[in-house]
Point group: C2
Chain length 145, copies 2
DNA sequence: TTCCTTGCAAAACTTTTGCATTAAA
DNA sequence: TTTAATGCAAAAGTTTTGCAAGGAA
C-alpha cells in the first residue's frame, strides 16, 4: 500500500476542500468549494472583497452575496475564524488554531503570534454564570521613531 | 484659602469639561462640551448613536456629523479611547487608563478588566523597526451551559 | 419534487464628506 | 473680521436581504 501523502501545510486541493466541507455538514457546492480552496490554500487573513476580487481574477467569479453568506457559514461552523481587528471590515482567518495577532494600522499588516510566545500568569476571574469562549489579543504596532 | 474640591469619580461639570477641552487644545464649543460632559460623566462605553440619542433625549440635540467628527477628534487627542470590539460599530471608552475587556456578544455587555487582574509572563518579540503602541485584550464570554 | 443555494438588485447600517450657515476668538 | 465648527443632505463603504431562477438530492 502506498503511503498517504499529506499536503505540506494547510494547502488543500479543491477535491479535498469539498470533502472537508461535506465532513462539516456544509454542502460542497461549486461556489463554496472555490471560496474554501482559496482560503485554505495557506494560513492567511482575507477580507470578503479580497476573496471576491481574487476569485474573479482567476475566472472563478462568485457573487458578492454568496461570498458574504458563505463566509458567515464557514465561520459559524468553525472552518475559518472571523477576526475583529479594526472597524473598517471583517477579516477571515484560515488558521483556526489558537493564536494571537500583531497589527500595524498604518500598513494594514496583520501578523500571527503563535500561542507559545504569549503566556498569561494571571487572568481575571470569569463573571458568574459565564465561561470564556475565546481570548483575543491584538498587539498594535507602529513604526519606531 | 478654601480647599479645592475634587469631583468624586470621573464625573465633571460642563464647565470643567470645557476647561479640559481647552487644556487639550480642543476648542470648547457647545456641541463638544455636551458630548464630553456626557461621556465623562462616568467611565463607560458608548456608541455614536447612543450619544446622539442620549443627547437628544435631554434636549441637547447635536447633529450626527458633528457627533461622529467630534468623537474622532476626542479619540485622536486621547480624551477618550476608541474600541474595536465587534464588527458592528465603534465604541468609545471614557476610561483612558490602561485596562482590558470582557465581552458577551449575546447581551452586548462590555466590562472593564483592570490591569492588575492580567499579567503577561511572556510577550512575543516586537518585529524589527516597530514598537508596541497598545495591547488590546478582549476576553469573549458566553453563558455557561 | 422538494429543499437549498445562487445571483442580482435593492436595502440597511454605520461612517464620511461637501457645502452653505453659524459661532468662536 | 477671520478662521473654525456645525448641520443638513448626500455619498461612500460594508454587509444583509428579498426574491426569482437554478441546482442538488
Amino acid at each position: 500500500m502506498l503511503p498517504m501523502l499529506q499536503p505540506s501545510s494547510t494547502a488543500m486541493s479543491a477535491a479535498a476542500c469539498g470533502r472537508k466541507l461535506a465532513e462539516m455538514g456544509i454542502r460542497p457546492t461549486v461556489p463554496r468549494v472555490r471560496i474554501a480552496t482559496l482560503l485554505l490554500a495557506a494560513p492567511q487573513h482575507l477580507s470578503a472583497e479580497q476573496i471576491i476580487a481574487s476569485l474573479a481574477a482567476n475566472g472563478r467569479r462568485v457573487s458578492k452575496a454568496t461570498v458574504y453568506n458563505t463566509l458567515k457559514i464557514f465561520a459559524s461552523s468553525g472552518l475559518i475564524r472571523q477576526l475583529t481587528i479594526d472597524d473598517s471590515r471583517a477579516w477571515y482567518d484560515s488558521n483556526t488554531g489558537a493564536h494571537y495577532h500583531f497589527h500595524d494600522a498604518e500598513s494594514g499588516a496583520l501578523i500571527d503570534v503563535p500561542v507559545p510566545e504569549v503566556e498569561f500568569s494571571r487572568l481575571p476571574p470569569t463573571p458568574d454564570g459565564m465561561e470564556v469562549e475565546s481570548i483575543d489579543l491584538v498587539i498594535r504596532l507602529r513604526k519606531k521613531r
